[in-house]
């Protein structure tokens, strides 16, 4: 199969308008005959469900959490970008587009990114209308802050809880449609398979996490908005439940997985201190507006930070990148922290940390203003570490945060399996090899509010609701049987190792060999090791046997089983991509001053992988990327 990205012709600024006109429509009276399944209720899933329901489609929405309001979009702290140019500082749709393509190190699709920048302003309008309490100036107008990778101030925010407030806005809109009966909400329900018949997505198989019972759901289109796969690394900033299962099982049913090796490492997380730690906690990038990052100049300087005089500190970001300073993009900031620690200048236990210091900001602005801006983040830091950032610099270190890779989609956000659409972090399309801060919220809501309502209609207009499968159809029966067998097998192993121990081992291996820096030798080692670990898992895992009932141990086991297959794909992709770009830093390909060195002649493409069986080499499909509007260049933030 050849990949057709279905990018409309014409100048980039006119593509979306033209495409909206060219797409087919479903007339309002016919929409109620169509049923759409949405899996996931984060920013993308909730906004898509609400918007499709408002148009008149019948929507079934599923989430594994106990309520749609819990999805991990809620944890996004700093803000959401939009090219409103309210600050009169030179922003425009074109500049947001340019910054995002450049920030992604030229591995995203220009047409998608331009559309994202165009829609960014509508998202702010829609969210304000829904009652999102964005920060305001005394005039009553909306306020902005700055974020990494940009020299304009375009980030809208609601204290340090922007994701929460945007999600609660979308959740409120979704709640209204649930009350009206237009959306049927299935909370505590996990998608375990995609049903494909005659090449089209027809529905899903789910497990009710409370009763343990399976059920089949048929629809005219399926939308996955199931988030990212960062938890394959075990420790990440993701929620405990975040997983790759829905995406990966769709992949096993034929959907291509694109650029899985593009995993973002966030520079400002609380360092790992204990081997029992279950996650990494992010400290918002917005802190880099006022905090200054430094390490001691001397190797092995163990003095307390207050005893190290100004002249003996290395504010390495300000030194190396004077134009962007502490606001360099995330990949650049993360690598610089790793380099400082590798040199032996790291601080805190184990030397894996750098200081993020607010002393200057407190001197300049006063403690009150700093508290107003970052109070909740400082409180969170204090409760986790027992130290106060008001009196002692924070210690931070990079951690796995976001997945730029995901299921391959065309311009309509439809995968190569017709009828299967993929939104938000679960798809691959907009962030290339590195996502800029405050752009995930933007993408999730652009996809859900303003893209999928049009593009799903275009698909549905080409199919008839009469062709929707009955759930007794053999395709459903056999998919459910597959799922059930897999679950039974997990319980039947009855070995001696916990699910957690396998998950942790896989995560450490990936972090070590396929984390912030990668090389061919390490990747080959990981590629050999993962199948062994997977084999051991299926021989020696111990899952609590509780029959058909609420069983968190079984939920986790199913997700880890998929991570053990997906991890191999991630490493394979990293090995294939014999260049450095954005977050994908191959030690073999580095500029003389330590920056990522792309190879546009050989790797200016999207790597989309087709599943061929467990342990078998997947087939690579390439989508060549063309840059007609942003000139391919070495990124510079100096």
């Amino acid at each position: 199969m050849t990949l057709d990205s279905r990018i409309p012709s014409g100048p980039v600024a006119e593509k979306w308008d033209r495409h909206r006109f060219e797409m087919k429509l479903v007339n309002p009276a016919n929409r109620r005959k169509y049923k759409v399944i949405v899996v996931g209720s984060g920013l993308a899933g909730a906004s898509a469900s609400a918007s499709l329901a408002q148009m008149g489609y019948v929507v079934d929405c599923f989430c594994y959490q106990d309520s749609p309001r819990r999805a991990h979009s809620i944890a996004a702290q700093g803000g959401i970008n939009a090219s409103k140019n309210y600050q009169n500082d030179g922003d425009s749709v074109w500049r947001l587009f340019y910054d995002t393509v450049k920030g992604g190190d030229f591995r995203s699709r220009e047409a998608n990114v331009y559309r994202l920048a165009q829609l960014s302003a509508n998202i702010i309008d829609q969210s304000v209308a829904l009652g999102v309490p964005f920060a305001r100036e005394y005039s009553g107008y909306l306020a902005n802050r700055s974020f990494g990778g940009a020299q304009v101030s375009r980030t809208f925010y609601a204290r340090g809880q922007t994701g929460q407030q945007l999600l609660l806005g979308a959740y409120a809109a979704l709640s209204r449609e649930i009350a009206l009966g237009q959306v049927i909400m299935h909370a505590r329900t996990e998608m375990l398979d995609l049903v494909v018949h005659e090449g089209k997505a027809r529905g899903i198989i789910v497990r009710d996490l409370v009763t343990g019972k399976m059920s089949r759901h048929s629809a005219d289109a399926v939308v996955l908005a199931t988030g990212g796969y960062g938890n394959v690394f075990f420790l990440s900033t993701n929620a405990r439940g975040c997983n790759v299962t829905a995406s990966y099982r769709a992949h096993r049913r034929g959907a291509y997985f694109a650029n899985p090796c593009f995993t973002q490492i966030h520079p400002t997380c609380i360092p790992v201190t204990s081997e029992h730690q279950s996650k990494c906690t992010l400290m918002s990038e917005s802190l880099r507006n006022d905090g200054r990052i430094w390490v001691p100049k001397e190797i092995g300087d163990k003095r307390a930070p207050k005893d190290i005089p100004e002249s003996e500190r290395d504010y390495y970001l300000e030194r190396r990148y004077p134009a962007f300073g502490n606001l360099v993009p995330r990949d650049v900031g993360s690598r610089a922290a790793k380099q400082a620690c590798d040199e032996g200048r790291g601080v805190g236990p184990g030397g894996r940390g750098v200081y993020l210091d607010f002393a200057d900001a407190i001197k300049r602005l006063g403690e009150g203003v700093v508290r107003q801006r970052y109070g909740n983040l400082f409180d969170m830091y204090t409760s986790i570490t027992g130290e106060s950032p008001y009196s002692k610099p924070m210690r931070i270190y990079p951690a796995i945060h976001y997945a730029m890779g995901g299921l391959w989609v065309d311009y309509n956000l439809m995968s190569n399996v017709p009828g299967l659409h993929v939104l938000g972090e679960a798809n691959f399309s907009d962030h290339g090899a590195n996502r800029l801060g405050a752009s995930a919220l933007m993408q999730g809501l652009a996809d859900g509010y303003f893209i999928i309502p049009y593009t799903v209609g275009d698909y549905l207009a080409r199919v008839s609701p009469k062709d929707r499968l009955d759930t007794d159809h053999p395709a459903f029966v056999s998919a459910e049987k597959d799922v059930k067998e897999k679950l039974d097998k997990l319980v039947a192993v009855d070995g001696k190792r916990t699910v957690d121990s396998f998950h942790r081992e896989l995560g450490l291996l990936l972090w070590d060999k396929c984390g912030m820096a990668r090389n061919a030798k390490g990747l080959e080692e990981a590629l050999a090791k993962i199948p062994e670990l997977r084999e051991e898992f299926w021989k020696d895992v111990k899952v609590s046997n509780e029959g058909e009932s609420f069983n968190q141990s079984l939920e986790h086991a199913g997700r880890v089983a998929d991570f053990l297959e997906f991890g191999e794909l991630l490493v394979r992709d990293a090995l294939l991509r014999d260049e450095s770009c954005g977050c994908h830093y191959r030690e073999e390909h580095v500029t003389p001053d330590g920056e990522a060195k792309r190879n546009d002649d050989k790797f200016c493409y999207v790597a989309a992988w087709e599943f061929q069986g467990v342990g078998k080499e997947p087939t690579l499909h390439k989508e060549e990327l063309t840059f007609e509007n942003v000139h391919l260049a070495q990124r510079s933030y100096k």
């Binding site: 408002q54 959490q65 106990d66 309520s67 309001r69 819990r70 999805a71 991990h72 809620i74 944890a75 409103k84 309210y86 309008d125 829609q126 304000v128 209308a129 829904l130 009652g131 309490p133 920060a135 305001r136 100036e137 005394y138 005039s139 009553g140 107008y141 204290r159 809880q161 929460q164 407030q165 609660l168 959740y171 409120a172 809109a173 709640s175 009350a179 009206l180 909370a187 409370v210 929620a239 405990r240 204990s274 029992h276 730690q277 279950s278 906690t281 992010l282 409180d379 969170m380 409760s383 027992g386 001696k496 916990t498 957690d500 121990s501 609590s544 509780e546 009932s549 609420f550 968190q552």
Partner: protein, 255 residues
Amino acid sequence: MKLTLNIWRQNGPKDEGRLVAYEMKDVEPDMSFLEMLDLLNQRLVLEGERPIAFDSDCREGICGTCGFMIGGVAHGPMKMTTTCQLFMRNFKDGDTIFCEPFRSKAFPIVKDLVVDKSSLDRIVQAGGFISARTGAAPEANSILVSKADADLAMDAAACIGCGACVAACPNASATLFTAAKISHLALLPQGQPEAKQRALRMVARMDEEGFGACSNHGECEAVCPKGISIAFIAKANREYLKAAVTEEPEPLMRV
């Protein structure tokens, strides 16, 4: 640290339930409470026993999934802290700690420490929204909101829906939860057209779900991990009274 945990075990809604004691050795001060339970659960699974069911997701205090009674207090002894953000350095070596689920008629027990809090979702479904159809929104800066109102609305909107307020209330009332949402939207100009019906519908639904009434104990505010003030209950009461003297609750309908 060594600790004794007395944990409520209840294998499903029909089981009677009982406290079971577990001895914990090697608890580290930097561990979170839930990481300690993760450790205990791994031990139980390997011993062939049923692990303790408890809810959590984000583990950074924002999703509102986690929460149970620790030492008789919702989310435990630390102020402004969710269960997942409670660290063991706040306990002493040799402590005995009791863990029980949030108890309320409107929060049926699912298993062990897991309860069903979907009644809170249904209160929001009754009216905790602004009916702004996607695509219909005007330019964002055409709606002015004073900084003071925006800040106050944000204070109310910070609620994470964890249900601790209900668990702490002697009446098992969800008034703080409901009042926070009514106040958040009533403070904004966008929320005005539906303000009266919102207040009437949400309060009616809260009663239907089996939550008790508010009698000003203030326990809700004391345990709220986000510090939501009971001043919002006064605000919501005013909203409710304004609505009740002029309107009847009407069913939600699409235009």
